[in-house]
Symmetry: D2
Subunit: 108 residues, 4 copies
């Protein structure tokens, strides 16, 4: 994730512009936050923003996430699934069902 | 992106907890921003944070992005590539090479 | 803003810990975003979070804002009022009344 | 903080536009995050952005903080100082001097 062709296309785009020099992990982390806020801005006063704009801002977040994963040398599916196992332990289905209580407050 | 098995695993996880009711697009957009800031926090005073924690926070951002894409009914590869075409028009390689000048300030 | 005694107390706190060296404008800007997301997190799944926690997170955002204003050598009241004059021009009361339309879409 | 005149000016501005209806605490928390990211964006690729733009974005963050404090009925100086006392306990000067180690990792 994304598929190999998408990754290659993003990589070529960056290389053609010689932008890799700006893509330190810290800069990418900042960029993810900045783009996430642009996505959030669509929902600032409005719960049903224009779908195309949402897609574009979500794409921006994802693009920087892909760059950061690539910089870290990690596979996106692997880190998602690995983190999911930890979340699964914190939020057993029978305790967490139907509520968003923080795991530290979930009572067995 | 992610692959079909990852998507199915995430979907099952949410369904087992009956959490879909909390996953309005607005709540997912908030969650992406919140997780993005937790990723950024690792770089708050430090440019080389622990890799495992970075992977986990990046995974959290991606997980909520996947949920939002799913809610919107869009394919992640498609929106990334579609947005990339727009960025390509704003940042022609010959003008943008080696600099992060905003496209509105790029001179031909 | 805040009053002179508050500013002096914050300044002494930082000096006693020799933390000014970490307070580059960029680090303070990151910190403001990180704390803002911690505030937002209280509203992630919940529209009526605990008041004391909201006050604490809001205080964190404000504290870093005060540090940044101090680093920039600006007075907080002045920059708020100066920015308000620009916003006033973009959002004339008669056009903007009762709606959150972006100024670029406000029709006279 | 800000001074009484600034608070009154901000209040009048909102009232003239009948915008208070949009200023739920949750919307204000979202707005603070969004504006914080606009401030951060100035430092995205650049450690010395234009001072006037920094002042404007910082003013936007502060303005929404003032609105939230007002909505919560709290005094900004009081919450800053109250939070500072908690931070002071977590970060004793002698342990925290010259380093940004998280308090949970500070060794006596």
């Amino acid at each position: 994730m994304p598929n190999v062709a998408t990754l290659a296309t993003l990589r070529t785009f960056v290389d053609e512009r010689d932008w890799d020099q700006f893509h330190s992990p810290e800069n990418l982390a900042k960029s993810i936050s900045i783009e996430a806020a642009e996505l959030l801005e669509l929902y600032q006063w409005n719960q049903e923003p224009d779908q195309e704009r949402v897609e574009e801002e979500l794409a921006d977040v994802l693009t920087y996430c892909v760059h950061l994963a690539s910089k870290l040398g990690v596979d996106i599916d692997e880190i998602i699934l690995s983190k999911l196992e930890k979340t699964r332990m914190k939020y057993p289905a029978e305790l967490a069902r139907g509520r968003m209580t923080k795991y530290t407050d979930l009572q067995p």
